[in-house]
Symmetry: C2
Subunit: 203 residues, 2 copies
Amino acid sequence: MKRIITISREFGSGGRTIGKMVAEALGYKYYDKELVKQVSEESGFDPKYIEEHGEHARGYTGLSYGLSAQGVPGVMRGMSPDDYLYVIQREVILRVADESPCVIVGRCADYILKDRKDVLNVFIHADMDFRADRIVRLYGESEKSPEKRLVEKDKKRRLNYKHYTEQEWGKSQNYDISLCSSTLGIDRCVQIIVDLAKELDGE
Amino acid sequence: MKRIITISREFGSGGRTIGKMVAEALGYKYYDKELVKQVSEESGFDPKYIEEHGEHARGYTGLSYGLSAQGVPGVMRGMSPDDYLYVIQREVILRVADESPCVIVGRCADYILKDRKDVLNVFIHADMDFRADRIVRLYGESEKSPEKRLVEKDKKRRLNYKHYTEQEWGKSQNYDISLCSSTLGIDRCVQIIVDLAKELDGE
């Protein structure tokens, strides 16, 4: 039995939905926004800032770290706000993974938990049409084309992952299983992950 | 039902074994070395040359293509031997895919068949220890360390794939499903692929 499932995902691929359904089927806790709340309480970061920056680090080379920007706490151990946020997020992820079986979506959790044997690492991707259609349905239209939004968001996630893990986001070898949700369908992805979590050795 | 399954794989990951077992379970033809024989008959290439170069293209910038090197046919439509071999391999793959349901291992088959809807593209990878142990058991010891052999062979496959497809070998998004055979085990990989081939729409 795998106690922890991490889900990395392309924007619009349905990774979050799959994560929620897997957590429900297994009776596991589900962490995504829930993580934001805990990180906010422990770090002093504004939840909105965490949602925007928790997976999209920027360089802060021009800023004086002593000054507190909007939504950013004053004390950051000499780190940039995004690096500080990463450190706090990492601490929270390590702790919740210890506390109880869970599904964690995004936030480099696969990398952060890489030394544990009871983790199943999953990557969810999908073709462009499927994702474009999905984000317009879920998040509405915007000035930018859905394709542009997808490319930009994936790029941010890729750069953030690279920055903190020195690994390539979406490279098969980082995950135990990678699934194309547009070919397989959301339900079948859920079933495969649930079966694997149950069948695989967690030692 | 998916009529065609392509299997790309890291050296030593058990991808060929998985491919054979999937073909057997589904009653499909299996192409790997079998492809070499057909390509040899149609191209005039020595089977040994095909085995060595069919997945490892080299640059031939210094050679005059009119001259026939050992194991290489004389007439190559003005192409380098490796490019000519790729073209013939491509023709054979397109034809066998038309002829009957099959499993094809390696040789950029996922890319060559990308316009068909009845194809399931699979990537098999595994951790270094599993693969090192496996190649020593299957292919014996050599002067080089197993780790070095793995890195070199994967590099050749990656460069060959990049050269002919302009895509990244092992990038999740190129495949419908990517599986870590050392985590999941060979038998479970086979079962997942067989189930998907049966369940998924081939239209």
